[in-house]
Amino acid sequence: MGALETIAFWVSVFSFLAGFVAYLIAAIFKKTAGSAYGWMLTMGGLVFLTAAIGFRWADTGHPPVMLRFENTIAGAWFMVLLLFIVSLWFDRIKPLGLIIAPFALFMLGYGLLSGAEQQPLSPPYKSVWLWVHVTFAWLAYGSFAAAGGLGIAYLVKSRREPRAEGAFLKLFPDLAYAEDIMLKLIFFGFISQSFMLISGSIWADSLWGSYWSWDPLETWALVTWLVYGVIIHFRLTLGWKGRRIAWMASGAVLVELITFWGIGFISNLHTPLL
């Protein structure tokens, strides 16, 4: 990492950490002001992470798409950015930072373990489809992560009577509202992932001469898509609502986690790209 990138990166890490602590204080000690501080610190982390990515981009000449470190900083960035964008429409989504901030922290830490060496863009990445594929991938996984976080919040909130809710839980949207936002995030993520799969297939065809190789990462991405397709079908066709959908949205994140972390380092085709 360059000097400026290092500074911006570590400030963002501490900002996310402080934001998470603030949210925890709000949740445990029922200090609602903590939630506001948590939000500000998480957004501060986003700003500094944006700067870190910018500095890295300037140094390497390419967006952060190569190797595990770059994938994780890009993923954390997209996830927090998505939370910010959704909050512009649905203000009451902000307490979700309690789940998103530590998740971003975990991703950054994980990426750092694999080393942060700067490298030029390797030949397979030199394609316009890289932009399309990676952007939609992060939009999809960020949406699913946010939906999963909202699902967890839904499950916690739905176990309590409204009168017995703590001040922090009250900050979360009403259950019906949360369910609709969760569904919107899943829809958005599903469409984004569809674009991700299509662009990935087109890119793979131009790179490897094969639009689909059944390698583990491709297959897990397909499984993730199918799982969320099942959730959508259950909601729209069978009318599953409430806690059922919240459980499914929360559980489906595990599949997404496996796709991103579980097999990436052992896939024989995607490995050089990760």
């Binding site: 030029p120 390797s122 569904l183 919107k184 569809s194 131009s206 059944w214 199918l226 729209l236 024989n268």
Partner: protein, 440 residues
């Protein structure tokens, strides 16, 4: 769900994507049952199995039937009866004015907000109804259509797909009809190839800081009966001939070694395609007279300390081989050989006069690919329509009461009933501020 369930076991079991051939051989020996399961359930095997084919036939059939049924039902169903299923939300207003004026105001507001308003008069009340999002139905149909095209493309692809490789050295000319492919990953029963030859003129590779490859490509010449044509096959850069696509997968170094004995008899004379191009990568060459030559390649050799091998960069600026020649049990030579040099190995001479590069080209042909990509794009377009445009209705019921009018604003949203409350509130606030909010 069934397809997901079929794919999952293969993703969790050991497969050749995750393990080397040697590891799988050990697995086969130590745990034949697990090996058998992994061979049967790995995703590529599942994708080609009769179960998968049968499932896809079922999917194809059900998609067609579902689409036909939906269109039929829609045609013969009263639009007003196609109400979204979910909950209603109400705002109740009490305002001054006349029923007719307010109904007209509501109708204009709904029209401006892109609802399709209708007005119905009942005894003592006027109902202004608006609908949106009916077009979303066609999103499902478009998605199914795209899915059908996709499945059709997959069938065509499965039957016509050619996926093979050619290993070729600079200066070499290959005829696919005669020499054939180096490896064939997939091919239809009958492969029809045009009459032409391929010559590899040059492999170009560039590095940054001499460490990181930034690009590599092959300059090819296609030689056909009527003439010849130059082309470049690179990474993300296909060269096309007829309906064949050539892509560059990999490249490496091909040194020329000449070994002859004291009588001038040649034991080895040719270009050897090395497996690895990384510094210190090892290869083994077998020549006549039981001669085995182990080579370690250094593309940019230098000696950091006397008799210690080092390498400065990945570019072949100073190619040197560390060679160990063995005949039987006896080592007859062990030392460096630089480009252009020759060394004495007891009664043999080894020369290293030249180094070229080899290219590993992928050759593909797939008549189903355009259908697959088109089907995918159409299917996703259908999804976007379906999810972005969903059915909503709103009713503004205006009724006369002594000295005032009573207005009930209610609506339904197919997918997002809770968020629809905001829209009802917006309509209510525009028509008249205040009013009671009732959720049902």
């Amino acid at each position: 769900m069934i397809i997901t369930a079929l794919l999952l076991p293969g993703l969790l079991l050991p497969t050749e994507s995750l393990h080397s051939v040697e590891e799988l051989a050990v697995l086969q020996k130590n745990n034949p049952l697990l090996y058998q399961l992994s061979s049967t359930f790995n995703p590529p095997a599942m994708a080609g199995s009769w179960t998968f084919i049968f499932l896809n036939i079922v999917l194809l059939t059900s998609t067609v039937l579902c689409s036909i049924e939906r269109i039929r039902n829609r045609r013969f169903t009263d639009p007003q009866a196609r109400e979204p299923k979910y909950s209603r939300h109400k705002r109740v207003l009490e305002l001054a004015g006349t029923r007719e004026d307010f109904a007209e105001k509501a109708r204009l507001l709904l029209r401006r907000s892109r609802w399709r308003p209708t007005v119905a008069e009942r005894t003592g009340r006027t109902i202004v109804a608006g609908r949106k999002g009916d077009f979303g139905f066609w999103g499902s149909i478009v998605f199914h259509l795209g899915f059908l095209v996709l499945l059709f493309g997959i069938i065509i692809s499965a039957r016509t797909r050619l996926n093979a490789n050619i290993l070729i050295t600079e200066g070499q000319t290959v005829s696919l009809l005669n020499e054939g492919f180096t490896t064939v990953v997939k091919a239809p029963e009958r492969v029809e190839l045009p009459e032409f030859e391929i010559r590899l003129d040059k492999v170009i590779s560039t590095y940054e800081a001499s460490r990181f490859p930034t690009n590599y490509s092959s300059r090819l010449t296609f030689l056909y009966p009527r003439g010849e044509r130059a082309a470049t096959a690179g990474v993300n850069l296909a060269a096309n001939y007829d309906d064949l696509t050539f892509l560059m997968e990999n490249y490496g170094y091909a040194p020329k070694f000449i070994v002859h004995d004291d009588r001038g008899r040649e034991l080895l004379n040719g270009f050897v395609n090395l497996k690895g191009r990384e510094p210190n990568s090892m290869d083994e060459i077998t020549a006549k007279d039981g001669l085995k030559i182990e080579t370690r390649f250094f593309p940019d050799y230098y000696e950091p300390k006397p008799r210690q091998a080092g390498n400065r960069s990945l570019e072949a600026k100073n190619p040197v081989f560390l060679i160990k020649a063995v005949q039987g049990e006896k080592t007859i030579f062990n030392g460096p050989v630089a480009l252009g040099a020759s060394v004495r190995m007891q009664k043999y001479d080894l020369l290293f006069p030249e180094i070229r590069k080899w290219a590993y080209l992928k050759v593909t042909r797939d008549k189903g690919a355009p259908f697959i990509f088109f089907g995918l794009v159409v299917a996703v377009a259908g999804l976007v329509i379906r999810f972005a445009v969903h059915e909503k209705t709103v009713h503004v019921v205006v009724s006369d009461e002594p000295g005032k009018i009573n207005v009930v604003i209610a609506g339904k949203s197919r997918y997002f009933p809770a968020l629809f409350v905001d829209e009802i509130d917006r309509i209510a606030n525009t028509l008249g501020p205040g009013g009671k909010k009732v959720s049902v």
